[in-house]
Symmetry: C2
Subunit: 308 residues, 2 copies
């Protein structure tokens, strides 16, 4: 039976001012899964990682993602999926997106590539819908395509790859508490003042300008989020101190990764990225939390085959 | 006595998705004024144009703008200001911004240039405060600096020049009704749904990406405004038909210029810009409104000296 092994990178969504619309892929973490097609219609999932995953296939994000794809293909061919490496669920670095993207990408390859990567995004978004109640694309898109992506519009879905400077490095610190996307969504207000809407759009536009023109200072100034950060940071013990420690170490900007609890920082050298990682970890420890720290460049490449 | 003549270009603010944060200057219209310093502290305004302007100097936008500048200079030296050419007030192409910018720029020149153009923006914004109740910069900034500008933030004021493709042309059609900025502000809602905030930020970020990367199709797709256009268009008779006629003629995007009633369109050739202008004018005429039509490129240059 044909078998394929793929790797899907971790992703940081929101990126400060791009709430629900921006994200980027980074090399430091990711999902690895092996997929083979079956002769029947069953989806069978096995877990070789240390993370706990839902035992029932139907409870895993890959299930609605593959189902949506099968609906389009008018096929019900089953698959064996084995998770070999898994981003910690609830870490805020695109764990569910990585699983969904890896699964639909691998399945698509073994089906003879009926869809382009861009077309696969909408299927993987069904996995996000399962975990958060809404089909977001801000992790799925960069995980699939690599680099920085902008969701210009959800209806119709319009995803734009945004050029970014090569010498941009990412620190992600994951304190070992888990916040579900649902909890994190519930912390948000349903309405925004006109003033905040203007502020958010200004910063999102500034972030894009900084990324494309390579203006690091502008990137930093634009990583201001008036929608999610003020409300979600309360779910992350010591957040303000952690943020301050990163800024003191010379990073260009810091914010919550996706729905948290991971906190990310961008910097222009690996030295600064490392230093920030150490200081942020230290601050979380002072608040009684151990952390995982990831340091890497922005991943130009999204999901990819590592073994056929 | 030293005398100077300056020209300040007309501007289109909002630009579809950049409500309160974006604007560009265009060559087709502008204010021309002559300014000379006085030996006393009086600000004297004379009007050589066909537009009606406030008779009292204190009621003109240049007054608070110059006052703010004088406060910084700790000087009260008066000036004679003569308007030679004036954008129609209430047209929605930055009439008040052009007056304020021209006045502070000219005064600054005759004072030996104590301020940079960037520093003058905050003074000119006082004129906007007089007419709209809020010190907006989305017309003032492009009028002062030329090209496309982004107001990344108001507090602190952070203005960014945004690169744009050279082959971009602008059609502005001004139907002869007047909408004050105050009326137009009153049409807006004070709060926005989270969904609309995300949509607006996505389009603002898309517009910037399109401008910097020269992706005309993306510029067009991103000229979507869910904040102001749906509410302000009701103040412009025939707006939907006018917009449709422009799109049918091949422009890349259409929207309300600033607070209206002017409607602008962007296109990639003067031919299309002209055609759109004719069709839009025709549609307004069908709704009983005569128009002024301006066709020009984006002005790289902001306010400038035309005679010393």
């Amino acid at each position: 039976m044909k078998k394929i092994k793929v790797k899907a990178p971790a992703t940081v969504s929101n990126v400060g001012s791009g709430f629900d619309i921006m994200g980027f892929a980074f090399d430091g973490a990711g999902d690895i899964l092996e997929l083979s097609l079956r002769d029947d219609e069953e989806i069978h999932i096995s877990n070789q990682t240390t993370c706990s995953l839902p035992e029932m296939a139907a409870d895993n994000v890959v299930f609605p993602a593959l189902k949506a794809m099968q609906d389009q293909l008018k096929s019900r061919q089953g698959a064996n999926i084995s998770f070999i490496q898994k981003i910690n669920p609830g870490s805020g670095i695109g764990s569910s997106a990585a699983s969904s993207v890896a699964a639909v990408f691998a399945y698509n390859e073994l089906q003879g590539r009926p869809f382009d990567p861009e077309e696969l995004i909408v299927f993987a978004m069904e996995g996000e819908k399962m975990v958060s109640g809404a089909a977001h694309a801000d992790n799925v898109a960069p995980c699939m395509l690599g680099g920085f992506t902008l969701i210009r519009s959800y209806k119709p879905l319009d995803i734009v790859k945004v050029p970014f400077p090569g010498d941009l490095f990412c620190t992600v610190v994951h304190p070992h508490i888990s916040i579900t996307t649902r909890e994190s969504r519930a912390a948000l207000k349903e309405t925004t003042s006109l003033h905040d809407t203007v502020t958010q759009a200004g910063n999102a536009a500034g972030l894009i300008t900084g990324l494309i023109t390579g203006d690091f200072d502008l990137i930093g100034r634009s990583m201001v989020d008036v929608i999610a950060e003020p409300r979600r940071k309360k779910l992350i013990p010591g957040y303000d101190m952690v943020k301050k420690s990163a800024i003191d170490s010379g990073v260009i900007g810091v914010n919550i990764s996706g729905s948290g609890p991971s906190v990310f920082a961008l910097s222009t050298s690996t030295q600064t990225a490392n230093k920030a990682g150490m200081l942020m970890q230290k601050k979380f420890l002072e608040h009684g939390l151990t952390c995982s720290v990831y340091i890497s460049g922005i991943a130009n490449k999204g999901v990819s085959i590592i073994q056929e």
